[in-house]
Subunit: 415 residues, 2 copies
């Protein structure tokens, strides 16, 4: 087989602990493929590529398969990220001239973009533009997002590991709360602006002796503070310790976030949230007056690779390999997706879906997977989530802390 051209891979959006596993899968497969010349990695996503900031991944990993093993279990993004939205392909052609000019210079015939919803928008636009100018390139999206909100795929790489961290942390917070003989309320705030997949994972903390979290509130249903206080008060008549899991994005029936700060907006127009937990903590203190604490899991739920899900990491790695296979076959303008074949024992297969059925669509939890009362989830959702957090990763440690892939090339090229 002759070399057809070079391959570019990049990462974009928010971190997960599985996005490097997909990158490792891409590199592992692309290095072996005879129709691919050099594998380049763009630093800081499509934005960095436009500034010609690229790494030669064939060189970096070619003779170091052990480094791929380490990359596979390392959190956040080896190639760095960006948050950059390309203009409409008809409205502004400057970005596209730069990008396709560089595709030509670097002889890029294959482009794989690993990211979430905003990144798939980039894949969709670049695919359309390539068609418009009749440019010979294959472009493929590889999903990753802890939010699990991408359409056409059973779930997203990164979700299972975040879910495992959340379930583990909620169980440990429950152990922390149970020890005192005074009534207490613990409110755990979990990421999720518009979808509750991550917060729902708190239910996986439940076991034979602990029913925490005792209340779960998701953004899919309107949140009512009066009902919340009534729910907590009712539970406090039956148990001493009430553990509550809430999404950062819970909002009232008019769509107003339950949060003390709702004025800041990021560049995509997403409201920047923080404080739903703190707000409810104050509310419980005032309305009930018992011991109360709020805990924000914060960025650790997306970067705590020391407790990744083996199912998630393995699947993300294979998905990276699979994406290379499909793009070589000629697929383009698509995203690779995961299909659940069996639930117990869990088994998944992969396929592809048109990127235009995915970009800018947000997959929410089906309402019939949420309890009618809106303060818990039902067993269908538990069954869906359970296999995704199974299995543990053997993270290597050095000097008592995890040994991850160095990322100082991000400093060198950008600082």
């Amino acid at each position: 087989m002759n070399i057809n051209g070079n391959c570019l891979v990049a990462q974009s959006g928010g971190p997960t602990t599985a996005i490097n596993a997909s990158l490792a899968g891409v590199i592992e497969r692309a290095i072996k493929n005879e129709s691919i010349g050099t594998i380049y990695g763009a630093i800081n996503g499509i934005k960095g590529f436009m500034e010609k900031r690229v790494l030669n991944l064939s060189e970096a990993f070619g003779n170091h398969p052990d480094l791929l093993d380490k990359l596979k279990i390392s959190p956040s993004m080896y190639l760095g990220s960006c948050r950059y939205r390309l203009p409409d392909i008809d409205s502004d052609c400057e970005d596209y001239s730069i990008i396709f000019g560089l595709f030509k210079i670097y002889d890029i015939k294959y482009f794989l973009y690993i990211g979430g919803n905003d990144s798939m928008d980039t894949v969709a636009k670049l695919s359309l533009y390539a068609k418009k100018i009749n440019y010979d390139i294959h472009i493929m999206g590889i999903p990753k997002t802890i939010d699990n909100d991408l359409a056409c795929t059973d779930h997203t790489p990164g979700y299972g590991s975040a879910a495992k961290y959340i379930a583990t942390s909620v169980l440990e917070v429950a152990h922390d709360a149970y020890i005192y003989n005074v009534p207490s309320v613990s409110i755990i705030e979990i990421m999720g602006r518009n979808v509750g997949w991550l917060t729902a994972a708190s239910a996986l903390a439940r076991n034979k002796y602990s029913t925490a979290p005792h209340l779960i509130y998701l953004p899919e249903k309107a949140f009512n503070t009066d009902n919340f206080i009534a729910d907590v008060k009712h539970l406090l008549t039956m148990r001493k310790h009430v553990i509550v899991a809430i999404s950062e994005g819970i909002h009232d029936e008019n769509g107003n976030y339950i949060s003390s700060q709702s004025d800041n907006v990021d560049q995509f127009g997403h409201v920047m949230l923080s404080g739903a937990g703190k707000y409810l903590e104050t509310l419980v203190a005032n309305e009930i007056g018992c011991k109360v604490r709020s805990i924000e899991l914060n960025v650790l739920q997306r970067c705590a690779a020391h407790t990744s899900s083996k199912t998630d990491i393995d699947e993300s790695f294979i998905l990276g390999q699979y994406a290379v296979d499909r793009i070589i076959e000629g697929h383009s303008g698509e995203m690779v997706v995961i299909n659940r074949v069996e639930n117990s024992p869990y088994k998944s297969e992969f396929s592809t879906a048109s990127i235009h059925d995915i970009a800018n669509i947000e997959k929410k939890i089906p309402l019939d997977w949420i309890s009618d009362s809106g303060n818990d989830i039902n067993s269908e959702l538990i069954k869906y989530m359970q296999p995704l957090i199974e299995g543990e990763i053997d993270v290597p440690y050095e000097n008592g802390v995890p040994s991850y892939m160095p990322v100082d090339h991000l400093f060198g090229l950008t600082e």
Copy 2:
């Protein structure tokens, strides 16, 4: 050897991931000791004992050595906790009458209390009272506190595991921060009212490629917000991402906490803190205007047993065994302590110290272990902390989450 009497063990104060290891050590050793009849565990510390809430630990663990293995690695407190301060032995005798009355009813000849500073105050007072009324009982304190602030011991059980969690989390947060090509400040708020041992452990996150945290502020030195902003601004001229570790208890030269809430006081008169990180986040946003985030590690730093330090857990277990050996020999009115024999390879031995040299004394970081500029620590402190976080625990998992000792006996007896 004849049975001399029964043994009572209890836990008190805040949770750690190592306090159950000491309990497991106590049970393991006491069960085998022929001069001990029954081992009782008081639920919810000395307060629960006064309400006759006790478990028969000989029955619960006697024929189940596998349960001791599980107890050893489980977080928080199997026996529950209390925060209760006994009155002075001369000022009020009612509590003492109740306690010593129950010692007689349960034929308690040995009492081991596992806890921190406030718990050692209880050990000291009960020892004095026993002497005052000439009551035949041996009382021994076993240290535990993530704060590492007890006198006479090289370090405290629970500290190493919390330190390992903090170092791991700071490294993972750094990976999370490094990916964007825009300047950012991440402020990590770590527990510690008056002592900075936990915050100092953030320095153990540093490795060959990552120098985070780039600034460390401890309560041992006065905090100046102008200097802080100057430190951050200076670093931002050299690097894109600045990671800052602060203690919750940082305060200005007049002793005022750097925090938005400093009015609440707990029953021991400790100021209840939260918000130093949030306060500084707002300050950076206003004074520097770059991307900024604050992260509060919160209770997970004391209950995340899935990443305990093996050194800590093993040492805590052996310390529990050692305490039983000493109390049987006739020691009383003491706390068992850890002495560092060698640093590399790390080796420790145990001895005892008079409880009156320990209770109500707070061990701070020596000022010469902190940098003159007050924004970092020095290598002596690193050398001191390093061995304490070494080694990993094989935590068993079930359904994707850690499998810990059930604690529903805490509900059954108290709810």
